[in-house]
Every structure is written in C-alpha cells, then in structure tokens.
Symmetry: C2
Subunit: 543 residues, 2 copies
Amino acid sequence: MASIYDQHLDRNQANYQPLTPLTFLERAASVFPEHIAVIHGNLKITYREFYARCRSLASALAQQGVGAGDTVSVMLANTPAMLEVHYAVPMCGAVLHSINSRLDAPVIAFQLDHAESKVLIIDLAFSATIESALSIASVEPLIIDYLDPEFPQQGQQLGRYDYDAMLASGDCNYNWLMPSSEWDAISINYTSGTTGDPKGVVYHHRGAALLANGNVITASIPKHAVYLWTLPMFHCNGWCFPWTISVVSGTHVCLREVRADAIWAALARHEVTHLCGAPAVMSTILAADKTTQPVIEKPIDFFTAAAPPPESVLAQMREAGFNVTHLYGLTEVYGPAVVNDWNQQWESLPTHEQASLKARQGVRYHALEGLEVLDPETMQPVPRDGETIGEVMFRGNVVMKGYLKNKQATDDAFSGGWFHSGDLGVVYPDGYIQLKDRAKDIIISGGENISSIEIEEVLYKHPNVTAVAVVAMPDQKWGETPCAFVELDEHDAVSADALIDWCKQHMAGFKVPGHFVFDAIEKTSTGKVQKFALRERAKSILR
Amino acid sequence: MASIYDQHLDRNQANYQPLTPLTFLERAASVFPEHIAVIHGNLKITYREFYARCRSLASALAQQGVGAGDTVSVMLANTPAMLEVHYAVPMCGAVLHSINSRLDAPVIAFQLDHAESKVLIIDLAFSATIESALSIASVEPLIIDYLDPEFPQQGQQLGRYDYDAMLASGDCNYNWLMPSSEWDAISINYTSGTTGDPKGVVYHHRGAALLANGNVITASIPKHAVYLWTLPMFHCNGWCFPWTISVVSGTHVCLREVRADAIWAALARHEVTHLCGAPAVMSTILAADKTTQPVIEKPIDFFTAAAPPPESVLAQMREAGFNVTHLYGLTEVYGPAVVNDWNQQWESLPTHEQASLKARQGVRYHALEGLEVLDPETMQPVPRDGETIGEVMFRGNVVMKGYLKNKQATDDAFSGGWFHSGDLGVVYPDGYIQLKDRAKDIIISGGENISSIEIEEVLYKHPNVTAVAVVAMPDQKWGETPCAFVELDEHDAVSADALIDWCKQHMAGFKVPGHFVFDAIEKTSTGKVQKFALRERAKSILR
C-alpha cells in the first residue's frame, strides 16, 4: 500500500516546474533591468536589453521554423552574440551547438551533419573555414552572419541574413517556451574523445540549471559579480557561466581574444571579480609588462582547469592579486564538477606542501552527487592510499544525457551506473583525488583536447611512415604539445619539416606535433605501444 | 517522431540522482571533517561527529522498524538534536514532523494522530505538555527523551529510551537511504490555516534541496558561514537552514532561548555571520543593555520575515552592525520564497523612502519559478500600479507537495495551476509586491500564526457571548496581538478578565487576546463581519 505521503500529493503546475537556466535571465531582467549584463568594448547592454535581445532572436528563429529538438550551430568568439544564443536558442525549444573555432573544416562538417544542423550563426572572422566546411557538409543550414559591432572582422558574409537584422525581425516580447521536460536537451558539445569520430555530448536543462547554481555555490559568487570571459564559451558552454552569471545578476565582460593587454585593461576598467581559464591564460596574464599593470585592490578569483597549476605560477598569481582555485572536469560533466576545495588549516603549511595539495584535483562539486576512483573491472573503490590507480568515475545530475546518435558509446560510458571518465587517478586518505595519467591518448594543449589517435591516423597515411605513436610532451606555454614517435620505411628520406607540412594539410594547426622523434617505438610483448614509456622519453627531451 | 535528442538518451544511475539535502551533509563531512558543524553552550561538534551522529540515529530508528513513509515527530528546542533529526529521520526514509513547542495539548494530539506518528522525540522541557497530549491522542508512538547535556531541563522522562542511548545503539557507518524519488516526502509542518483543523504541509526532498541551495544564492552565504539559531526550527524546518548550512560547510550556533544576553554573547564569541528571525528578535536584540554589547566589526546579515521592518528598527539595526533583508513566505513554500532584493541605486534615496521600499515583500527567490498577484476570479495578473489588490500566488519547485490526507484543501490551494496564498497584495511598476491585507483571519504574533477563527470559536462557546470577531492589533513587542470584539447577551455581566481566563483554559497562552472591546460588531448588508473596519478600530485603540 502506498504511504500516506504518496496519496493525492502529485505533481502539478503549481508545485513542479522544469529546472532550466532560462528562468534565471527572466528573473535578473525583471529584478535588475537597468543593471549592466554585458560589456563588450565600449558597448554596454542592460539586463532589460539583454533579455529583450534574447527573446527577439528566439522569436526570429521560431519564425524560421526552428523548434523543439532542432539544432542551432554557432561559431562565435566570446561576444554578446555568443551569450545571447545561450538563452535564445533554448527559448524556442532548440538545442545549441557551439563549435570550437580552432577546428578545421572536415571536423566542422562532420559535426554539422551529425547534429543535423538547421541554422548556423557565424562570426565573420571564421567565414573562410565555415565556407570550406559547408562545401563538404551535406546539411544546408540557414546561415546568419554576425558582424561584431565593436571589433569589425574581415571575412565574407555567407548568409542571406545578418545577426542584427535577424534580431530586428523578431518580437522582443516573445512568449518563450519553457522546456516540456527538464530532461530536454539544451545544448550539444562535441568532444574529440580518444578514438574515432567526435562524439556529441548532450546537456539537458536540469543539469545546466544545477551546474549554473553549483558554480555560484562552489565559487561563492556574490550578487552583481563581474566576470571576464577568458574561457572560450565553446568549451562546455563556458563551464555553464553564461547561465551562472544570470543567477547573481552579474556582469559579463566579453573578450574576443585572450591577450594580456586586453585582459589587464578589462580587469582595471570593470573591476572584474571572477574569471576562468586554462593555465595558458595564467601564463599570458603573468607574461604581461609589469610596469603598465594596474594594482589589483581586491583579490580576483581565478578558476583554472585542464592541468594542475605549478607552484611558481601559483606564487606569482597570488602576488599579482589573484586567488587561484583548481577545478577539474570533462565535457561530459558540463565542464567543472570537481574542485580543490581549500582547507583553512593548509594555509599554515610550507609553500611547496601547499602547492602539492593544490595540484590535486580534489572533491566533488556540491552539484555532483558522486565522485569515485574505481577499479573498472570490479567497480570497487580503490584504497585511499594516494597510490593505487583506478578510473575516475562520476555519478549525478551534472553528468550528460549521453552521446547523440551513439547508443554504444553512451552505454559504454555509463556501464555499471557510473560515467567512466577514462582518466586515471588515485585517492588520498582525506578523500581528495589526483589524476595520475590522463586519458591515455589525450593531449591537452592550451586547454584544447587533442586526440593523439587522430594525429597518428594522419601520419599513418603518409607513404613513408610505417609506425607512429603520439604522446603529450610538456610545454612551457601550452601546458602540453603533441610529440610524435615515428618509424620510417627503408627509404628513410622524410624530414620532420616534411611531416609537419603533411600534418598541416590534414589537421587544424594547433594539433600539429611540435616535436618528431625518429626511432623504434617501445612495445609490450603483446605488441601494444608503451605510451607511458614514450611520455617519459618525451619529457626527457626537454631536459 | 521523437527528436534525435530523445533517442537512447535516457535517465540512468550515472546521470540522474534524486535531489536531496542528505548528500549535502555527506559532502561537508567528507571534505571538512574537522570543521565545527554545531556549537551548543560549551559543546562543539565537528562535521565528522555530526554526520556520524545522524547516521547512528538513522540506524537506530531503522532498527526500531521506522522506514519509508513513517512519521517521526519531535518537539525540541534549537539544540543539536533538532539539527540531527533533520538528517537522521529522512536518512532512514522517514518523514520529520517538527511540532511547535508553543502549542497546547489538544492541537499536538491532533497532529500526532493525523500524521500517524510512529516515534516522538521530546525535550524534557516539554514533557508535561506532551504527557497531556499523549493522554488525548490515539497513536502510541515510541517515546525518546532528549536530555540537553549543556542546559539540563526539569521535566519527567516519558519514554523507555533517552536520545543518547538511542544513538549509541545505532551504527555510525549506517548505509543511509537515498530517497527512492526526489518527490518523496522529507517533512511535514502543520499550519493553523485560517479555518478548521491544522493542515499538514508536506515537503519533498527536491524542494528542500532547492530551497537550501536557494538560501545560499539569495543570501550570498559564503563557505564556512556561522549561523545563529534565533529562528525556531519548528517553523518551516527553520526555513531550510538546517540543510543550507551544510551546503557551505558552515557552523550552526544553537540557542535554546531567544534572550538578548545569549544572542549578544554568541555574536561576540562565535563571529556569527548570519541569523534569521521575526521582527520580535530584532526588538530583543535592540532592547539589550547597550553598555555591555560587543562592537560588531563586520556587518552581520539578518533575515527577517512575517512583518515589514519599521523604519526606526532598520536604522537602529544598521547602527548596531546588522544588514537587514526582508523576506516573505508561508509554510506552504518552505518558509521564505520572496525577497526584498535590494537595488544599489536605492542607497542614494532619503531614509524614509528607503524604508518604504524595504517594507515591500519584493520579488521571487531565485529558487522559485513564479510569483504573481492575480485576480483569483479571472486568474489574470493585476495591473502593476501599486494599488490594485489581488491574491499573492506562487508556482514552482519550492511549493509544497500538498496537504496530508486533505485532497480537497490541496486541490483548492492549487486550483488553476497556482498556489493560492490567501494573502492579498499589490504589484508596483518595478514588479515588487507588497502585502496589503494579510490572509484576513491570521494574526502573526511573535512570528507565530494565530487563527482568529480558532479564538472566535472558543469565545463563541462562552455562555454569555453572542457574537465575536477577532482581528490583529499592532503590538510593540509581538508585532501583532489578537484583539477581540465581543457582543454579550442581555445579562451583560462578563468582564474581560473572565474571558481571558476562559481563553486560557481552551487555548495556548500566546493566542489569548490582549484586548477586548465590548461593542456592536460592524457587518455588511449581507451580514458579513467587516474585519477591515475592526482592524482600523483596533489600531486606533493604541493611539
């Protein structure tokens, strides 16, 4: 018999609404209409205007027939338009597909086709790449060109519509759609993964809302915070910060390019309180001309991920006026879902001990229900000894809906009721985890995931290459860069430069290996490449 | 055809977990085990201990056969035990029923029977009332006596078990139960309502988790905040703060009695950052001997509800070192769901204008999806003119599951897809709402809801009373106090004192009217009592 607490106590419109970040903007615009929502160059957009622009775009898209379950792709820099699509696209029921602007045409074409893109909004700066991608793709999305009003870009208009004309055709009072269910998709982000074609990671409204709130809670972001966009929004929807900032009715400071002068100017001019970025952003900030830097009065919170911040960088950042917090996550968990939650007692430890503690990835976000390092065979937790390696696994409401049109990959990723990250790590006695060997084949360069297998496949196609193995090599500027170990055929007449040219023809520039080693490749007795050994060799090359 | 985003992208254990505040404590205890979770007198309890105690109690309750859908009632002061039951009871699947310690025996007996109480945990201070309630009630719950270790109370033990022995019988590593659904009940709170028997407002895990987070967001509560318990936890589960404080791994400072000396001592000793309470708490704080007050270095956030803070109190509170934020809500919306979200620009206005702005109830909590003032006939919003009165209505995830075993009242409350608060208000052009006439029959005295109808019913039973109408009368100390208008029969021989005695025999002391007026009662042509006119008369009595 059902409990008394389950009788006549059902859901209805009054006591149940789908969780969604869309209501966050509605509230901010209603409560603080004149507060500045977005700054871009000399442009300032209030919450009233921001909300009206999002509704106009949503209405215009709906007028074009875009609706529930349709994909709207964008390739945009960190501009106001990029923020607006994060609301406007789901407001008409559609799904936002934000494309990494560093990708090459074939990968973009694959994504457009796979996501069955109906609309493509592009910044003029990327029109050449997009034109080439469209010539390969099968889909024929409606093209909308974004002409940055503050920083005009060179590039050809590809569409019949420009972004502002599109907005003008919409209704700024459009009665936007709540998701029919909080499980509805809100966005898709492609990850290169370790093998094969890119996988489309689908986010839902529930997870986006919960992680947007989760960022506020984890980072103690107060009302009216000022957030600088040093993190590309095409990464995991900017770790959900386009939605997070509405939670606190804060201000977005856009940034087209992550340059030291632009960052320091923004920090000084807009009293920035928070920013995020890969370690490369910290290097950029620190490499700036010290004599022209403004003094930072109140510490600024910097959230970094992708690689542990080195001791020297931490010290320099502190001196420059930043509190650095180390986060960890993957596209599949909406960006950051693990935080190095700092313990007050650690402040009294020697600097180098603090640095090793800070290098750990940490503990689950408040918004994540489960984080474990498990033996993937037995699905049992590894001992908390800081030594036994297992696979980092996630469980909770900020884990993706799954991979689009890829049941097998989805089932594999979720096998045993946990999301398998592919990252290997250990757990310390205090429960903090540390990555020991990142998903074996992924190289993280300047915050970008590069699949070593993708590079290997390209090199394998070269007529003189007989064997190849690509691993990460530490790099001062980018964190990591690909290093290729190559075995050649008996002609033996290929130079590194020739292979670099070959790669450049077949992949995006940032993926091209920075170093080539022509030598026999270590293999196990069963013929498996010993990537661990190769990584050690790649490291030693630098010394 | 289902969208591509709905195919093979279902819920599973890895990507979906019920929202519940129980995981909040698990995380705090795992990440900050040595941080102080609870302070009570000289007692300090770390998160490790707090979590272990909650698990022990949950395990002990489970051993007693308490499980899903069972009610565990408590009548406790703001002690560590009261915090522990907020976790332990739902950890074994049961539902927490926290009884207002100011109620009289018949009402308590009604609640115990109605909620089908299986267990009753009581502070010795309340054992006389409980003994009397148990003599009336039909249920025979298992009784557990709580003997406050820091502030021993007089009173007879009623049960076979005492609280600490019960805990000792449990397993501190108990594998507590996640709710089977986030829609599962977590607690029940009885409200006197305006008519008839008390109604049991059922909360669920989803709403409790979302409002607990919502408090952090709305009040910008940072990590390791220190919270002083001046709000009774039997009110709407302490506005969900027993769960909120775990979100930020903060410290609870318990307080058995809301006395000025105890409050000021706690503020000074524990560096309190946040507290909540009815306006009576502010009066208590301000009435304290100024010469012995410590100086507050950092402003303390005080959240008040139940009545708008008067201008003079606001000024005095600011001077004493408090930021006052005005909240509004009802038991049916988990406590506070509306906030007077302060607008920076208002700081430059004259003080009295600021006070009128602050007197408004405000806008929806971030965690509440909808707040409107609607014409209850047409369900259309009233014009935003600050004048047209409508009924305040709520919609969203922090609205109750419904009233226990009361389908009719639940259906009525949710009619038209909105929760009907019974409160009347207006909307200003900026969207902020203000209550104009509180649910006609409710008197809010010292933060307690008193149903005027309940008092009227008692007075009507007096042999010499022929007509009666009770309304709120402003009161310096309690905010409001009941004022009774009485028409007597021709014998005309009853004094106010006699009626006070009559009331004292039939209701809790705090409900007894503070003033009696023997006069004809204004009625409309259709015979309806004009309570509005009576309230005006009650006000004028004071002048």
